[in-house]
């Protein structure tokens, strides 16, 4: 049973560019959340997608956007990259129908902005 997968593993971009990160949820899961983990910090919630809609958003600017596809996979897009966007981006999946839907995390995508 495959867990949460993310691609790419690493990514290097320059300021002002745009980036797309991808996530496939754990088999049987239908909800995807994205988190940003800066160096030395705990993960910060960006947003969560369920039924192809963003249903909760954290304190992140509109440069951060996402999408969920009918097969439950998801993308995170970041426009106009800033140096401060350098971080580990974690995707987490869960099953809405499970009580207290705990989240399972992928290995992350390490984004470096130069």
């Amino acid at each position: 049973d495959a867990g949460v997968t993310q691609s790419p593993t690493h990514l290097i971009k320059t300021r002002g560019q745009q980036v797309t990160l991808r996530c496939s949820p754990k088999s049987g899961h239908d909800t995807v959340s994205w988190y940003q983990q800066a160096l030395g910090q705990g993960p910060q919630f960006i947003f969560q997608y369920y039924e192809e809609e963003e249903r909760q958003r954290g304190n992140f600017p509109d440069r951060f956007s996402g999408h969920q596809f009918p097969n439950y996979s998801s993308e995170l897009n970041v426009n106009a990259l800033l140096l401060g966007d350098s971080a580990l981006y974690l995707c987490a999946s869960s099953f809405q129908g499970a009580r207290y839907n705990e989240q399972f995390f992928g290995p992350g995508t390490r984004l470096t902005v130069l």
Binding site: Y35, Q44, Q56, E102, F105, P107, G108
Partner: protein
């Protein structure tokens, strides 16, 4: 608003000794509490959760956590530490009205032989 505090940046324990990693929380509703572990260059692995019921929760790899409502704490414990337990530990909370996990800044656990 929800928040989590992990007051210790690092905890050092000798192998075979008991370990405790501290966590306190603040939520407006009923708390759902979680512990995750992160190894270098890896994502977060779920250890255990408290939703309701017994205050002592047992999880993976011999870890357990004690929920204390009056002290708003959810400390992670293990009776006998292993060198392989050395990693970064995160406490997280969410309330019963939202979906986002709010994480502490993490505690680095170092178990020495």
């Amino acid at each position: 608003a929800q928040s989590v505090a992990q007051p210790e940046d690092q905890v050092n324990v000798a192998e075979g000794n008991p370990l405790t990693v501290k966590c306190t929380y603040s939520v407006s509703g009923n708390p759902y509490l979680f512990w995750y572990v992160q190894y270098p260059n890896r994502g977060l692995q779920f250890l255990l959760k408290y939703i309701t019921g017994d205050n002592l929760v047992k999880g993976s790899y011999g870890f357990e956590a004690e929920f204390n409502k009056s002290q708003t704490s959810f400390h992670l414990k293990k009776p006998s530490a292993l060198v392989s337990d050395s990693a970064l530990y995160f406490c997280a909370v969410r309330d019963d009205t939202g979906y986002a996990l709010n994480f502490g800044k993490g505690t680095s656990l170092l178990v020495t032989p």
